[in-house]
């Protein structure tokens, strides 16, 4: 196993190279009229095969919609390639001229695929089949828009809200509003009050600022984004980003350093009955909304309190992420793929899926906390139809905060070097957390690295045009 990745690398590299030098696969430069024709909606009933890579219909949300999509494509054999999207497997299939007909990826991967010509622009698909992209949240669309063309149809939204242990807050005399994210000095001082340790070991984490992953959130709430809106300029050493990192890292410093907090948090039973809230070992943290479901299922009696995450300007804010459907270059059944996408993301399908979920939750005597589909129309309809007040303030607050966050999201734009860009800033944050570097020099280095990667990738794209 140890040498395997090298081996994998070599195999795929060669395949890519040999195939792309040899036969043309029509990738990247498909002329638009041909594409439009391929997506042609109703003239002939689609038939043949539809292999979907990266999607698993594991829960009722997935399986309900999949059944509907299959029904919409009666003559088509739909098959799922199991497991998360493996970039190697996907790209090797595209390069070998044998791609799946449809691919399901993280939204932040789309820019890289698009810039390499691995997925097709979907403008023709959207217009010919009338996919209602205007219903989809703008930040989600921005994540899959590369060079002004939409390359994928987004679905799902993950947003952050603040989750707290009300007992600990009460004992420490801390108000939940102090931890909303608006007032940074208040968070730091509340953290010191909430944190507890015994015998040199941490026993309560006061506040977890969730670095490295939430740096974009802290930076945005301070008025700066890590990447310019056109996806070309890294802004990692912007003074406001440096300030955000200094603050979020300072929260860990106030509790004895990141190493202690991480070790303690890693040891917690995050998905179990003895999670940090149930055991009273965490004061508060910003966290994605799906965790509400875990808490509701595993520790319904824990003393919980929820509130929206708020930026320095006093407005609720959340960093959105999610999945997206795209059609690979060389897809042999683009029309069927387009119909499939349309069905999966249609409001009616979401409603059916939400009903299945709400029924399942009711059967297990659990709360239905809503569903963020990425489609605003569907979100509203689901909320008004299926989300009922629970009678418990905490859960109702959680649902309210979730929907508020969902209405106030931002995202980073699609860019051709997303993996390198991410590695650059995450490495910088980690060096700071590990005590190897100060925020400013760490982010300066990251800025240089990220910009070099972006410049190179954009130059390659610009040259291709």
């Amino acid at each position: 196993m140890r040498t395997a990745p090298l081996g994998r690398f070599a195999v795929t590299a060669t395949v890519f190279a040999l195939i792309t030098t040899g036969c043309a696969t029509g990738s990247g430069n498909s002329d638009s009229s041909a594409v439009a024709k391929a997506f042609g909606s109703t003239s002939a009933a689609p038939s043949g095969q539809l292999r979907v890579m990266g999607f698993g219909a594991d829960d009722e949300i997935g399986s309900t919609r999949l059944a509907l999509a299959k029904k919409a494509l009666p003559g088509v054999t739909v098959s799922l390639v199991e497991g998360d999207l493996d970039i190697q497997a996907f790209l090797s299939a595209v390069a070998a001229g044998d791609p799946p007909e449809l691919v399901y990826a993280n939204r932040d991967q789309i820019g890289t695929f698009a810039s390499r010509g691995a997925v097709l622009p979907l403008d023709a698909c959207i217009s010919s089949q009338g996919i209602a992209v205007d219903q989809i949240a703008k930040p989600a669309i921005a994540q899959v828009t590369f060079n002004k063309q939409v390359y994928a149809v987004p679905e799902f939204n993950m947003v952050q809200i603040v989750m707290a242990n009300s007992d600990l807050l009460g004992k420490a005399g801390v108000q939940l509003s102090q931890l909303s994210g608006q007032d940074w000095p208040a968070i730091t001082s509340a953290t010191k009050k909430l944190t507890a340790s015994s015998g040199g070991k941490l026993s309560v984490i006061g506040y977890d600022s969730k670095l490295p992953e939430f740096l974009p959130l802290w930076a945005h709430s301070n008025g700066a984004d890590l990447l310019s809106a056109d996806g070309r300029k890294a802004q990692l050493n912007d003074p406001k980003v440096v300030e955000a990192l200094t603050f979020a890292n300072g929260v860990y410093q106030a509790q004895g350093g990141f190493a202690k907090v991480k070790a303690y948090r890693d040891a917690a039973d995050f998905f179990g009955k003895e999670n940090q809230y149930a055991t009273g070992t965490l004061g508060a943290m910003p966290m994605e909304q799906w965790y509400v479901n875990v808490l509701n299922e595993m520790s319904p009696k824990a003393p919980l309190a929820f509130t929206p995450f708020v930026g320095k300007d006093g407005k609720p804010v959340a960093f959105a992420s999610g999945s997206a459907w795209a059609i690979p270059a060389g897809s042999k059944n683009a029309a069927a793929a387009c119909t499939f996408i349309k069905t999966m993301t249609a409001v009616d399908s979401w409603m059916a899926a939400a009903k299945a979920r709400a029924d399942a939750r009711a059967k297990d005597k659990l709360l239905f906390t809503g569903l963020l589909t990425g489609n605003k129309t569907a979100d509203e309809k689901i909320r008004s139809t299926f989300v009922k007040p629970s009678g418990v303030k905490a859960w109702d607050d959680a649902v309210k905060a979730t929907y508020l966050a969902n209405d106030n999201t931002f995202s980073l734009p699609a860019n051709p070097a997303d993996a390198e860009f991410k590695t650059a800033w995450q490495d910088a944050v980690n060096r700071v957390l590990n005590g190897q570097q100060q925020p400013k020099p760490a982010l300066d280095a990251a800025q240089q690295q990220a910009q070099a990667a972006l410049d190179k990738a954009w130059a390659a794209w610009d040259a291709k045009k």
Partner: protein
Amino acid sequence: MTSGLLATSKAVRHSERKSAVSAHDSRAAWLFISPWLIGFAIFTAWPLIYSGYLSLTDYDVINAPNFVGLDNYRQLAADPKIAQSLGNTLYYTVIQVPLHVLVALGLALLLQRAGRASGFFRTAFFLPKMTPPVAIGIMLLLLFNGQSGVINGVLGWFGFQGPSWTTDPNWVKPGLILMSLWTVGSSVIIVLAALREVPDHLHDAAKIDGANSWQRLVRITIPMIGGTLFFLLIVNTIASFQTFTEAYTAYFGSGNTTYSNDAALFYAIYLFQQGFEYLHMGYASAMAWVLFAIIMAVTVVQLVLSKKFVFYLGGHR
């Protein structure tokens, strides 16, 4: 150290000279080795040449490779992460490999005298090799946890304050090295098999002469199995230059973890990032070639430092 091996090669030489096979058998010989010859041509020689070509191109996976001459190698020489990852890899190799061989030898010596129960113990020592690495990776993070891990718990009994194995840059590599010793199983079995070949009468003779067990180990056992130990050293050096799985699972994760640690960035991990996360296949090919050159150089040095291995593998001269 050399005597055992000399004995081996002498013996081989002896038996071969005595019965040299006549020349017309050479056709049969070529037939016997033909499977390997074919495999070598297809699966080794050609790939070598091709990846060499790729290393001279700029290649983003989907579009055709674009010839850029030695650019990748120039870029590589100036890349600080190359130096850093090579440094990490060397540190790991220098400490892990001798430890690995020593532990394998120690466990094999213990096993050798386990008598009837040895079947159980052999299976026990081999068990981590058979357990899916992902499962082991997750569990090890729990064991090495700085606050609540079993390892630091045990250290605590003896009054030591254990380090933050999983976050402190100074302790990440030692932690990984300890983890890697878990999969020492196949080396144990190899050493064990070699130990079984040490003739009993040598030990008996030494016993009669009053040698204690430590003396017998150093003067008889180790020289007699020197060839095997040396081979383990070489093979594990090659493997540890390519070390990947443990560090990748623990610190670079399956996309869900954003925490990483520079101290665990090994060469193979950086190569993987370049090739598959950043899609710089040409650059990654160049990295693979540099790694090949380094391994070759290190192996040659090891061989030169220990002429005995040359004897050993040459069989006869």
